[in-house]
Symmetry: C2
Subunit: 149 residues, 2 copies
Amino acid sequence: MPEKETTTVHDERVNRLLRRNNLSITGSRKKILHLFLEQNGALAHGDIEKKAGEKFDRVTVYRTLQTFVDKGIIHIIPTADNSIRYALCKDDCTEGHHHDHHIHFVCTQCNNTYCLDDVVTPEVKLPNGYTIAHVEVVTEGICKNCNDK
Amino acid sequence: MPEKETTTVHDERVNRLLRRNNLSITGSRKKILHLFLEQNGALAHGDIEKKAGEKFDRVTVYRTLQTFVDKGIIHIIPTADNSIRYALCKDDCTEGHHHDHHIHFVCTQCNNTYCLDDVVTPEVKLPNGYTIAHVEVVTEGICKNCNDK
DNA sequence: GTAACTGCAAAATATTTGCATCCTT
DNA sequence: AAGGATGCAAATATTTTGCAGTTAC
């Protein structure tokens, strides 16, 4: 029963994530984190509402996502369309060792967004006078899944 | 009278841009393009409304920006906050030779966004299975102007 | 003159806020 | 029991659409 097992693993991870961040363990938080774990990619606010069905209020989704961003549980992926997409870093689970130096990939076919945790952000050299603090890379193309079909 | 001269240069460029893209030369289009030329950086929808004063309708701004994006006169810069920012590529003026392979820079102090036309997008190597079509790089830090102060 | 552009009104969406109630610890 | 989280209602903000009048060519 692999399905069951996965769920259990997710349950544990969800609880750990919430507890570690001093957040009370509530239904909507658990549900939303599970959605991220199942998705294995990025979710926009709208995706979450859809996937969650009629389960909880739109306002709760806004507030929960904001809380997660504040705590560093999820991060925002910059996109060119209006939609803010959020993703749970795969390496978030490695206790406090927060490094989001990975790049993002948007599949133009299935429209999913992935964190490519294994691809390190390249070095960028700026002109004189600019002080660089952070580099964000978003790539676009066809993802593994879509290419395999 | 350098101010006058700049305006004239802008005027010419604005007219050329519009004509080249088969767009009729209207007040709002000229005004908005001038704003981009004066700004020398990115503008969000809201910025344009502010800078333009009470000059024209909000709807016109939406429609004009959309038209410019469709024609490739301006491009969208992906950001992590909700705001869509648009920028006129410096090299747009080199007739039809459209290459947007530059990176973007957001100043966390003055909150301006610039196209760094001289910085070429770095190579990115993706895992097997992914087909890459486009790479977008947004850097963040303190810009030349703010550092010089 | 005609097609395209603009402005106004209004609809549709998206986001935020306040507050009473419920749930977690 | 107490503080925080949720859900509902409503206020704001943002974006889209339709249409009539105006303008560019």
